[in-house]
Symmetry: D2
Subunit: 332 residues, 4 copies
């Protein structure tokens, strides 16, 4: 299988940029993301909390908007290289009959709103307000000291349909899950920025946001954040790990925030730039893809996810047989 | 509760020293302990495999003897400071009507055999053949690079009865588990060498060897050994972890060897020397004692252990109620 | 100062790819790079040794060719995205009156040879033979376990002249050193792959190869490789570090190989993708740019470098005053 | 050479306990020890600052007393097992015509004051006020997160004379430096608590306190404290390291506090309990004893130390020849 559709896309989407979530209590969110995980607060208003990792120079990679009720994801943010790329995108969408809008978003340059082929609401921009450079403010490093946003994982009712939106835009398939003995894709790791993924689609009730992920520097920080969570009485927010994924090679820990949104902290990605390397295939039945060692995931981790605001999820169009499924689940 | 019975014991037992196990296939054992975990082989004969950690100067801390059938533990080894201490021990046992024998054991000085008050077969010696100093042979460090043996955990049919053997010999209680609202001890962490434990007793069908433990230097080595086990197709030998125990503060991973013997690799113990510090109590219902974060242990970890050769285990004299028990078990 | 000349270069150069060095004794080179540092040998012939990092899928990132005499660098290798990019490059060079040649290089696709504006001999290719994926063969990780080649540093007689070759090809300036109170550039960090640099130019007798650099995963691996070098009697090959550069934020250790070539092992780079972030300026007099803490570099580190085969170096066109220089040098 | 004089000393001295220093500005001291290094403040009064490591349960291991002028060390503190041991010590000193006094010291039990045979002022006690257990308050871990005091190093005008005080009290020689080809001891590593040292004597103008040392958990914390010091503008307080000592195997970093007192942070000690292991000898000319790799120490590190209050140091009775000395010194 080839990992890409085009090496010369119409526009240069550069990377996963940010995620916009709703939260019932911004104080509780701040206590979790900053106090427990060690993220940086750029700005807090009565209605929104803007956060980022320690090396991020852009104003925000995580936005929490105060809203009552079940936590929702408003949008997934992608970054393009320049304003010209936004214009090129608008032409591409127009040419392909894809509806889009221009939006004004605080602290961001001109922003384009669009939904992908499975209904995931996206926003794309070329610039943000610049935040203070804290990379070498090592005195501020605490807990996991998350460095930067890395990728999103979306539960999709049909993974191949999702790919049809991203592949013409220059996304590249680096690894994938397929049903044994077939080419039916159940999971697709799609990348722009030179590591295994900016956005991942996995078969499931969707579209829903399964998780967003931040890099941490080293192994010990993934253990330390567990210890800190325990010391602060927040150990129950850990949902999975520490463990190592076969796909992508991430050493990971997953947490659920006070509104139920799932965040992955991980380290150990590899560089994925050369196009002469074939995408790596993992059979659906291979448990090593989800964990090289340790206990399997719980059913919560497999089946729960954040719905997108105003988007009704659909059932997955492919169903796992119970025997296969059982191999991936711990029964906690 | 006071942590000690005497500060001036009759003899100076200094530390956990070694463990003698049976194995069906010494090649498989060597592949596991050396190839997967990174321990050092001091010597291999047709009938025995002698191993140690990277900083250990004594000939062996782990002895595997070739024997067919179910894996058994022959003896737990303790070290005394000098030959005089062996004589003092023999006088103490005679005065207390405790049977003992003198044994000739290869690579060890004069060795005393005795069983404790719950039937655990022990051996004590003051010296061993000296092995090469590999502490600074960093080129030989591999996988977890285990440094030294640290402690044993014994499942005992009656923990307080076990303590009656060790406390008059100068062992000190550093931490313990007790049934909520009572002083009924379910777990006792007993120490001689200045950290939380040389030998631990925990309520259960006993006596049986629950595990023996080696120190590793740092967090990343506990993750690396999991990765190495996976790369060598041995991930199924991991039984629990990585996780952090509340009691003793160990960051741990547990493995089962090819004969089913359980070994803990851990880091992060603290110093326990001052006798003005009270033993730390943990209520039986407090799950934090066994894990500060992460998934609970599996039933295998809780209930399976190695029998001692020629010693029929007895049922525990105290029974956990099912509700309490359930809080500690994952259902894998 | 703007960090880039064009966001739409004629060809897509993707990353630092490989370096070709001469060596007197391939056995000694192998013992150093594999035995001491932990790199992977892809292939050895009587006349050449091909090596790579643990995650690299391409056949080689380091080539040592057997040749007597003083160690030389034959070429610096860069990777382009596709064969089309090689053609685009050849058109660009033709249009700009830059001489180039096509070469046949073992294990590489079609290869273009060219020299930059300060005389650095380069080669560019779009593909290589594929090597075994060892990323998850954690049992093979040893010593520093270098992961992949990251960048080159070239001593240049005139840094701004060097930039004139790279900036029109889409390289981006991420950080730079300038003489206090002026815009005279003494050091330029030029990047294509989304971190701070693929190639660095620093004022000095040039062109000469100051060092090439491999990433390591974590801090402890940088200490471990020092310990391993010491255990193998190779501690004298360490030339600088461990320390942290202000520029680029790398935690580094520098070694000299048996032929005097300098290799940097480092960790902790940051992501540099967004073009709305200005290049970071460091004044020449600011010692923090070269080390945030610890002893300064020795004169050897500052002044010694590998000459390019057949290229006579020229004296730097800008000279440091002795007072400034002294602040950067330990007198070992 | 035998490592001990007696295995049954008159009294049980258990460990290095604390150090009492003078400081000009307690605020500056607190900013350094707590803000830069990450130590814990137990209590601050107008005239004294009491600090400890994160796992320490005793009230203080570091006492800074406000006093103008050159920083001095008032006393080195040792701990004994029980009050009975204090009485046994007083009998031992009386029998050996060694002057001592009883003192009242805040937060300590009955305290005995005595000077050793080279004039080092000591104090010994069996108990201290108990401090809060912060071992598992991982949310408070910052910078190096020092865990506990480990040892002192004293410059002594005659090392063998110093040993004559400690060896009859059960101290054990674990490693030592001797002049090549002789048994003339230039450095003595003396231990009670089961690792290589509680107190070290090294030939030099003395008695003076060369440094006191705290353990840290892992390698990355030694690098992190350097980074934090840099971020806080305190990098100049680093005096040596990171490096690894051959003797004792410590991975170390040395700092000077605002009054010039030297503190070592280190990790990687080994267990030293068995008396059948001979002390390790290092020839004076062997540079590996002081650093396995990296640059040598500066003259400041070698020759500067804290004087004891009211104790005039004497010149060392053995003099190093300039050639030997030069091998150990960087010329910063």
């Amino acid at each position: 299988m080839k990992g890409y559709e085009t090496l010369r896309p119409a526009a240069n989407i550069t990377r996963a940029s940010h995620v916009v979530l709703t939260a019932n209590d911004l104080g509780a969110s701040r206590e979790f993301y900053s106090g427990v995980l060690g993220m940086v607060v750029t700005e807090q208003t009565p209605s929104a909390l803007y956060m980022r990792g320690l090396e991020e120079r852009s104003h925000h990679s995580l936005v929490l908007k105060r809203a009552p009720g079940q936590g929702r994801c408003e949008r997934i943010g992608l970054r393009v290289l320049s304003e010209d790329d936004l214009d090129a995108l608008s032409e591409h969408f127009t040419a392909n009959d894809i509806r889009f809008d221009w939006a004004q978003v605080p602290h961001q340059g001109r922003t384009l709103h669009v939904s992908d082929t499975v209904g995931t609401p996206l926003e794309l921009c070329a610039s943000m307000d610049e935040a203070e450079n804290l990379l070498q403010r090592f005195d501020l490093y605490r807990s996991a000291s998350p460095q930067r946003i890395d990728h999103f994982q979306i539960a999709a009712q049909n993974v191949e349909r999702a790919m049809r939106f991203y592949m013409p835009l220059g996304f590249r398939l680096t690894e994938y899950t397929a049903k044994d003995g077939t080419d039916e894709i159940w999971g697709a790791w799609l990348a722009r920025k030179g590591n295994p993924h900016d956005i991942v689609f996995a078969n499931g009730r969707g579209p829903r946001l399964h998780h967003f992920a931040y890099t941490v520097r080293e192994t010990h920080e993934l253990i330390h954040v567990c210890d800190v969570a325990s010391a602060l009485g927040q150990a129950a927010r850990m949902e999975r790990g520490p463990g190592r994924h076969g796909i992508g090679n991430a050493l990971f820990v997953y947490f659920r925030d006070p509104d139920g949104h799932r965040i992955e902290l991980f380290t150990s990605h590899y560089q994925a730039i050369d196009v002469d390397v074939e995408p790596m295939r993992w059979d659906l039945s291979n448990t090593r893809r989800t964990h090289l060692w340790g206990l399997p995931a719980t059913a919560r981790w497999f089946f729960e996810a954040t719905e997108f605001a105003g988007v009704e999820p659909a059932e997955p169009e492919m169903q796992a047989d119970p025997v296969t499924l059982e191999r991936f689940l711990a029964t906690q």
